[in-house]
């Protein structure tokens, strides 16, 4: 029996440590992982907990991220709680198996410490890996700070293991900016955290020897479409209500309020920035400064990236006159993914805001408050003109001649 880890009510943890403790408190049965910067400390911390008697589960140090997720899939199909962590190139190597995990309806929790994908090789935070996973059929929850990472891990287990859902979930945090930045984290005791998640309830478990089950069959054109549709249906219809239910439960337990879409001073906002990760808090600070000047600025943070809360986002932006979507991933040949998502969400609605797109922060380049001020100034001009006063897509924080498209 694992020892109880006595935590203070408030710990100073970076995002990785917050994730490690959440995995420990979830009493994960099998963690199969492979180290990669910047997610490495998650599994290092976990290994240290194990070496000191705080973990009862198995810890499989795989030979690659692909092997790690493959072990996770086998372990999950066998019938128990499974989690791991990765970043960037490792995430890319894992990608094939991510589709397997979701298609096989296996509730694995994957901590993704977001990092750029080479070439050129880069170890710092951007959202390239998160975007790469967006069609993989996983739930994707985004964190802005270490507290979020702790709480969203607990939420992820509770949501994805539900028998009405049975879909794997990624918990995203920004590489280094969240993963390696120590902040205050309010904790739950081991018992309370575990009770919030609940016991793992097996389903279609291979180790139930009285009920043999075949996992991972082939389906061709007469079946594949129906199975994919069923998976999409679960993701679209069951997940957001279950996440909301988990958020409500967490609020009752801790007082901390999370939302599918994190609206900040949006009630009467005329201009808004939509973004993810650590940028949300930076944008909130700038919007406070603008509000002090009487400018009706707001921020919408995406909390749940998949399934995409299309209606909730459209609702949050209702009445806005100009909106900027900020994408921290090179779009390589089109507008940023968030721009597309927002355009889709707002089309066919009564909100006829001017929508523009900013590419920023690739490879860990800082998003400065000054850049955000510039964006808000563009938005004010767009709102006033009622049409774009800038190109639709601009690179911000980039050296050299101004780069923009459309």
């Amino acid at each position: 029996m694992a020892d109880i880890f006595e935590l203070r009510d408030i710990e100073v943890w970076d995002g990785n440590m917050a994730a490690s403790h959440a995995l420990r408190q979830a009493q994960v049965d099998v963690v199969a992982a492979y180290p990669i910067t910047p997610s490495t400390p998650i599994v290092e911390n976990y290994a240290s907990f194990m070496a000191n008697g705080y973990i009862d589960g198995e810890f499989v140090m795989a030979e690659s991220e692909h092997g790690a997720m493959s072990c996770c899939i086998g372990a999950s199909a066998a019938g128990g709680r499974v989690a791991t962590a990765t970043s960037s190139q490792g995430f890319a190597l894992m990608l094939e198996t991510l589709y397997s995990a979701s298609g096989m309806r296996l509730p694995i929790v994957l901590n993704v410490v977001n990092r750029a994908i080479g070439a050129p090789l880069n170890v710092n935070g951007d959202h390239s890996d998160m975007y790469m996973g967006r069609d993989s059929g996983w739930i994707q929850i985004d964190c802005y700070n270490p507290q979020d990472v702790y709480d969203m891990n607990l939420v992820a287990f509770r949501v994805c293991e539900d028998h009405g859902i049975r879909l794997p979930a990624m918990v995203h945090q920004d590489g280094f900016m969240t993963s390696h930045t120590a902040q205050r984290v309010k904790t739950l005791s081991d018992d309370v955290a575990y009770d919030f998640i609940g016991e793992f309830k097996p389903m279609n478990d291979m180790l139930d020897l009285d009920h043999p089950v075949t996992h991972g069959v082939q389906t061709e054109e007469d079946w594949h479409f129906e199975h994919k549709a069923r998976q999409h249906h679960a993701l679209m219809s069951a997940v957001l209500p279950k996440i909301q239910e988990a958020f409500d439960g967490l609020k009752a337990l801790t007082g901390r309020q999370y939302n599918l879409v994190e609206s900040y001073t949006m009630d009467d906002a005329e201009i808004a920035i939509v973004c993810m990760g650590t940028s949300v808090e930076t944008a909130q600070e700038v919007s406070n400064e603008l509000r002090a000047q009487g400018i009706k600025a707001g921020v919408v943070g995406i909390r749940v990236f998949r399934p995409f809360p299309l209606e909730q986002i459209a609702d949050a932006l209702k009445g806005c006159k100009a909106i900027a979507t900020l994408d921290r991933s090179s779009p390589n040949g089109t507008v940023g993914a968030l721009y597309n998502e927002l355009a889709g969400a707002l089309f066919n609605t009564s909100t006829h805001a001017v929508l523009t797109n900013y590419i920023y922060g690739l490879g860990g380049r800082d998003l400065t408050k000054s850049s955000i001020h510039t964006i808000y100034r563009d938005l004010q001009a767009n709102a006033q003109a009622g049409s774009p006063t800038t190109p639709l897509q601009q690179f911000i924080g980039l050296r050299g001649p101004k780069l923009s498209f459309f």
């Binding site: 043999p212 991972g216 079946w223 998976q231």
Partner: protein, 133 residues
């Protein structure tokens, strides 16, 4: 089953070989199992065959080679005695005939439509017996 819509089957594309629970498949013979419709046992591949193996009980020495080497679990053997060929699952490969060690063989390939009684009448006779006759 092919008519099923997307909302009617189990999640994760899983399949179950048996209906309900089975305590130990290794201890339960096929005739006593509750196979599900998803088990390939419930399907026939008889139409793969052009030729079929026929079995002559009189010549069989129960060496079980045909049982060991049959790739399709189609030699029905009980208590080390060859009983019959399972024509639902036999694909007509002919391995059983090749490995049959008796002379003449206790298993021979015949055209799929061949009548069994007729085949047994045409079966090559044991040389020794013929001499005795």
């Amino acid at each position: 089953m092919l008519q099923n819509g997307w909302d009617t089957f189990e999640i994760g594309t899983i399949l179950r070989p048996f209906e309900g629970s089975i305590s130990d498949a290794s201890a339960i013979l096929p005739e006593d199992r509750l196979y599900s419709q998803s088990n390939s046992f419930s399907v026939s591949v008889a139409d793969w065959r052009i030729e079929k193996p026929l079995f002559n009980k009189d010549l069989c020495i129960d060496c079980q080679f045909c049982w060991i080497y049959c790739p399709d679990m189609s030699i029905i053997s009980r208590d080390k005695k060859m009983v019959a060929v399972d024509y639902d699952h036999c694909k007509g490969c002919g391995i059983c005939v090749q490995v049959c060690p008796t002379t003449p063989k206790a298993l021979l390939m015949f055209p799929e439509q061949k009548d069994e009684e007729e085949a047994l009448l045409e079966w090559p006779k044991k040389e020794k017996k013929e001499k005795e006759n």
